[in-house]
């Protein structure tokens, strides 16, 4: 399985979806693609033919404004037909801009309001424990999302319950709604913060498939936080690390350039 090719297909879907709908948040969707690719194509125990499989692993995209990345990944994984992606963020479409679990199979939770996902994941991880189900729960939060106080309520709590079946992945792309993440609220030293809350912390390049995979596979007795350094807009040269692509969709010309780069 060529993860690079899969990730490219997902990125192509994302730029097409965002261009067609004039939807924003292209950059935030692109930064998380490689993480989703490894999770969905190498790590998670899931069955696209049976999305409510009892012992499935669960994935929560807490940064719900990156929804196009999850929809595109699920389509790539055959949870539903790719034609559904054409109804993203448009009149009469089926996929709202922020995630709705009723909208498509494989979407575990509705999200878009920030700071909910890790707590939801804790609930699922606890349920797995009491049901003697050895499935895992994976939650992706944005770095800007860590501004939300509720995230820290959850960060404080998960290690207290020794939830070794829970993994938090921070998509650390360094840009948020109004500027650079560490200028809005300085997150650093992020690793030390998480360590001091008793998480097992791994810092990786969030675009390196083998680093992502080995971080996800690492055994741990505590909940695991993966700080994934990523690039906003990854894969499309003119979007990479550009703040304006937090809230922008490509026009037709820009779309063609992006698709050419993703060939």
């Amino acid at each position: 399985m060529n993860l690079e090719l899969i990730a490219k297909e997902i990125r192509k879907s994302i730029v097409k979806m965002n261009a067609k709908s004039y939807a924003s948040h292209s950059g935030t969707a692109l930064s998380v693609v490689d993480i989703l690719t490894v999770l969905y194509f190498k790590i998670m125990n899931i069955d696209s033919a049976n999305p409510s499989l009892k012992n499935r692993d669960r994935f929560i995209l807490s940064k719900g404004h990156g929804s196009s990345a999850l929809y595109a990944t699920l389509a790539e994984k055959d949870f539903f037909d790719k034609s559904l992606l054409e109804g993203f963020y448009i009149d009469g479409g089926e996929l709202p801009g922020h995630l709705d679990k009723e909208a498509a199979p494989g979407v575990e939770v509705s999200s878009g309001s920030l700071g909910h996902g890790l707590s939801l994941g804790i609930g699922m991880a606890i349920a797995n424990k009491i049901d003697n189900n050895d499935s895992n729960v994976y939650v992706v939060c944005g770095d800007g999302e860590l501004n939300e106080g509720s995230v820290w309520e959850a960060i404080m709590f998960a290690p207290h319950k020794h939830l070794d079946n829970l993994t938090l992945i921070i998509d650390y792309n360094k840009l948020q709604g109004y500027g650079r993440t560490n200028e809005v609220i300085n997150l650093e030293p992020l690793k030390d913060k998480l360590l001091s809350f008793n998480w097992d912390v791994i810092e990786i390049d969030g675009h390196n498939f083998s680093e992502i995979e080995s971080a996800l596979l690492k055994n741990s007795k505590q909940p695991k936080a993966i700080i994934a350094h990523t690039i906003k807009g990854k894969g499309v040269s003119y979007m990479e690390n550009k703040f304006e692509w937090h809230y922008k969709s490509p026009n037709e010309e820009q779309l063609n350039i992006a698709l050419n780069e993703l060939l």
């Binding site: 700071g115 939801l120 994941g121 049901d131 509720s150 959850a154």
Partner: protein, 306 residues
Amino acid sequence: MRNTFVKTLVKLAETDSRIFVITPDLGFSVLEEFEEKYPDRFLNVGIAEANAVSIAAGLALSGKIVYVYSIIPFVIMRPFEQIRVDVAYMNTNVRLVGVGAGVTYGPAGATHHAIEDIALMRALPNMTVFAPSDPYEVERITEESINYQGPIYFRLPKKGEPIISNSKNEIRLGKANYIKKNIESEIAILFTSNASDLALDVEDKLLKEGYCSDLVSMHTIKPFDHAALAEILKTKKHIFTIEEHNVIGGLGSVVSEYIAESIYNPVFKRFALPDEYSHYVGSQSYIRDKFGLTAQNITTTILELL
């Protein structure tokens, strides 16, 4: 009523392993029995209500039936947005159990009063709003809540409210609970939650003045028993609502909204707390008195309207 609630839940949890209780560090001396019997299904998440509600939703998405217990402002107002998205929007089997309806926590101050809760909860799609008047209602609806699909808000008083229902068996979620019914009466008094003592007292005072009235506990504010209300409007000339909630958005609003769009034109008045926070220091009865929410005042006003 909170004790009735916990006792009922402990009993139900014995045979239903889906039942789970979460507290954001409240319920000391109330929840212990549940915690001792089912430690795996009890969680104190600390003073972190947003986390409590979202964890509850995560558990519910994994098949659990989760009761989140705290004082009303903390369980429903602090994490309102978590309730909106993770509980109401996702339609999860989370039960928000709030204690201290109205000004039950009188001298504790307005941070602990619950005068806006019915309005907030009934505005949420999918949310069921249960505001019981007596322990029978609590027991029956707690039992019924186990297999009920979707979220429920429980508005519980805190004191030892007496049993006023005629029969436990006929209490159903979404159905008006008749405490007194009299074909001859031209007055109906509808009340909810911890206004039951006021309602009973008013009914008694009116009787002494020669007027008999129907007395109905509207324990479910949403879905509201519109059929019962339509029947009342058909047969009574005077309708009154009594509640310990802001006059905006509670039982009185539900009834007036229905009347406004109906063909009926009864004499109608809402008795509730005024649209203001209490700066009075004192017990529930003291604050009620300061705001004029007393059986005597209500009776006098009704007599003027008859």
